[in-house]
């Protein structure tokens, strides 16, 4: 017991000596994460038009029904969330395309609609920088298909109505004003705003994007931060571990005391990062909708609630260093583990962007369970138990590895 107490004290002292360097790394990491968060937040807050593909429309908006066409495209469910159609002259469109203010522009020839009505082929010209690749190209092809389907279906409907009227009500002359009939049809059928209300819940598993990224970046930060603690792990003397074990202070006690000092160091880092984050957030006007109105108390509650996830990620880092037992190996394994797990578990992008299979794998990974835990916290749901299961698993594995090394005298190879 005396050995355990002294060893814990010495490990804490050792961790304390490393604290300034680790705090410096923490501040740099936190600043980077805050910058990325700010960038994402600004993107999210900006006008919807910035997220849409911007298409210029060149043509006489007063004649030939081009304005009707634009109005229709802006009402269509399939395009109104993805496209922004901007009427302009060809000169303006060309300049805007070159300066990347537009993704593409369409040149609608004079009398296009009239020509279409009489079956004359007068194509619309599509001008872009890069039609072969990217989301823009795909959307343009979708747009062309939508327009074609729209025109064909409208024509079928109008021609059908004209024929029916001619057969049954010949005195009304149904062929007299085909254009007006077409426009009216399009607007009646396609003006869907009146039929239902669209609510965007976001792609972030019921969380707001700022809330989601708060979870993602906290998990990513916790995983990457452990790299700054490398000297704490690799500076351990195996000879000392063996002597302590021979003296009655075994693997479990050693792992536990070393882990406690690591966790306390981590808490200092998280506290520093949290303070920096909250100050920066206040200055830059960043808000987390899920925590809005709760003030500093809400942030503290979130921080305390996140402790199980942080403990689990610490246990994972501890386990990985115990497994590799070398500086280079430990850093590499920790870094790649953080990046791969962070990616698959949705720390960089909402996991809803991924296919079902990847989403399942990501959710089962330690980082995925940490994300799930944080999400539950923000949504006010009960926290998830897999975080504790992983914590116990990593601690047990760390003790077993230490025990194996002590018993067999196996040394690190790197």
């Amino acid at each position: 017991m005396r050995t355990a107490a002294v060893y814990l004290g010495l490990q804490l002292k050792r961790a304390g000596k490393m604290l300034p360097r680790m705090l410096a790394v923490t501040l740099v990491l936190a600043a980077l994460v805050a910058l990325v968060g700010l960038m994402l937040s600004r993107m999210n807050d900006s006008d919807d038009a910035q997220e849409k593909i911007r298409i210029g429309v060149v043509g006489d908006m007063e004649a030939g029904g081009v304005a009707y066409g634009v109005s229709v495209m802006e009402s269509l469910d399939s395009t109104r969330f993805s496209l922004s159609l901007l009427p302009m002259s060809e000169e303006e469109a060309s300049r805007a395309l070159k300066s990347s203010e537009l993704d593409a522009y369409l040149i609608v020839p004079d009398g296009f609609v009239d020509a279409m009505m009489v079956g004359e082929h007068r194509p619309v010209t599509f001008v872009t920088r890069d039609v072969g690749a990217g989301v823009g190209g795909i959307l343009i092809r979708e747009l062309a298909q939508t327009v074609s389907a729209l025109v064909l279906e409208t024509e079928n409907a109008v021609y059908g109505l004209q024929d029916y009227t001619a057969e049954n009500f010949p005195e009304r002359n149904p062929y007299a004003d085909g254009d007006t009939l077409t426009y009216k049809y399009m607007m009646k059928i396609l003006d869907r705003d009146r039929l239902f209300q669209v609510e965007t819940v976001g792609a972030a598993d019921q969380l707001s994007l700022p809330g989601y990224y708060l979870c993602g970046f906290t998990v990513l930060f916790a995983m990457l931060w452990a790299i700054s603690c490398t000297p704490l792990f690799t500076g351990r003397s195996r000879e000392l571990s063996r002597l302590l074990s021979a003296d009655g202070f075994g693997a479990a006690g050693q792992v536990l005391t070393e882990f406690i000092s690591f966790v306390l160091l981590m808490l200092c880092g998280v506290l520093g990062a949290g303070l920096l984050g909250s100050v920066l957030g206040k200055r830059l006007g960043l808000t987390i909708p899920e925590l809005a109105g709760q003030g500093a108390a809400g942030l503290w509650r979130f921080g305390l609630g996140a402790l199980p996830a942080a403990l689990m990620l610490c246990a994972m880092a501890f386990f990985l260093f115990e497994l590799t037992d070398s500086t280079v190996g430990g850093i590499l394994v920790l870094f790649f583990s953080a990046v791969v797990q962070g990616y698959l578990s949705g720390c960089f992008y909402p996991s809803t962007f991924f296919p079902e299979g990847l989403r399942t794998i990501g959710a089962l990974l330690p980082a995925g369970t940490a994300m799930s835990h944080m999400r539950s916290l923000l949504l006010g749901n009960p926290p998830s138990w897999p975080v504790w299961a992983y914590f116990a698993l990593f601690m047990i594995l760390s003790v077993l590895i230490r025990e194996y090394r002590l018993l067999t005298g196996k040394e690190a190879t790197a």
């Binding site: 050995t3 002294v6 060893y7 010495l10 002292k13 050792r14 000596k17 490393m18 000297p231 500076g235 003397s237 195996r238 000879e239 000392l240 063996r242 002597l243 302590l244 074990s245 021979a246 003296d247 009655g248 002590l406 018993l407 067999t408 005298g409």
Partner: protein, 225 residues
């Protein structure tokens, strides 16, 4: 009093390093163990110190098997490994605190073995800044914290300068004169010359060796083995 090591066996995988190693030592004696690299000398010391499990055998002291009685072994046996069992980021004093009771530490620094080893000269220096000789002296100081009856030394003065070597060997000599038993694994002429019996570990078994102070005879035998 006598310590007896009986039939110690150890395998690494299929390789049988110790095949029944046995020897005796009296209190106040010094046993030197010789052998080629990888013959199992350090393994034997680790087993006797309790830092490595063996596959069979006994280490008898006062009718107790120290391999089974860990508490008695911890009080009886001190072990100085080849490496440095130190927390590098902490001072010499902090490292000593792990092994010494506070009062015993002050006493030893004042007039005991730590004073003799000269540890008080670098007490507040961080271990990472200590020279090889200082680290070795500190390690020996740690190993002697519980005033052991038997001290196991794995090449204790290898790569140290002559002054440091002399200081350490003087400490061992005092320890032996005060009734302690020493087991030294070594290839060093100075260390071997302070022993009063020598054993050659060959093919996992101990053989008595008549060391005459002539390293060339020893080398010839080692080459032959």
């Amino acid at each position: 009093m006598e310590a007896e090591i009986i039939d110690i066996k150890k395998k690494y995988g299929r390789k049988e390093v110790l095949r029944g190693t046995s020897f005796r030592m009296e209190t106040g004696s010094c046993v030197g163990i010789l052998g080629t690299n990888g013959c199992g000398k350090s393994t034997l010391l680790k087993i006797l110190a309790g830092v490595l499990a063996c596959d069979g055998g006994q280490f008898l002291w006062q009718n107790e098997d120290l391999l089974k009685n860990a508490a008695l072994r911890a009080k009886t046996v001190g072990y100085v490994p080849q490496g440095t069992p130190l927390i590098e980021e902490l001072s010499a004093r902090d490292n000593l605190r792990l092994w010494y009771e506070p009062q015993a530490l002050e006493q030893s620094l004042d007039s005991g073995v730590l004073r003799q080893l000269g540890v008080h000269e670098f007490l507040h220096t961080t271990a990472v800044k200590l020279s090889g000789g200082m680290k070795k002296r500190l390690s020996i100081g740690c190993a002697m914290a519980k005033d052991p009856a038997i001290l196991l030394l794995d090449e204790p003065t290898a790569a140290l300068d002559l002054v440091c070597k002399e200081q350490i060997l003087d400490t061992f000599d005092s320890f032996r004169r005060s009734g302690g038993a020493l087991v030294i694994v070594s290839h060093d002429q100075w260390e071997l010359s302070m022993c009063d019996s020598w054993l050659h570990l060959r093919n996992g078994v101990m053989h008595p060796y008549a060391y005459d102070g002539q390293l060339r005879h020893l080398i010839a035998e080692l080459v032959e083995s």
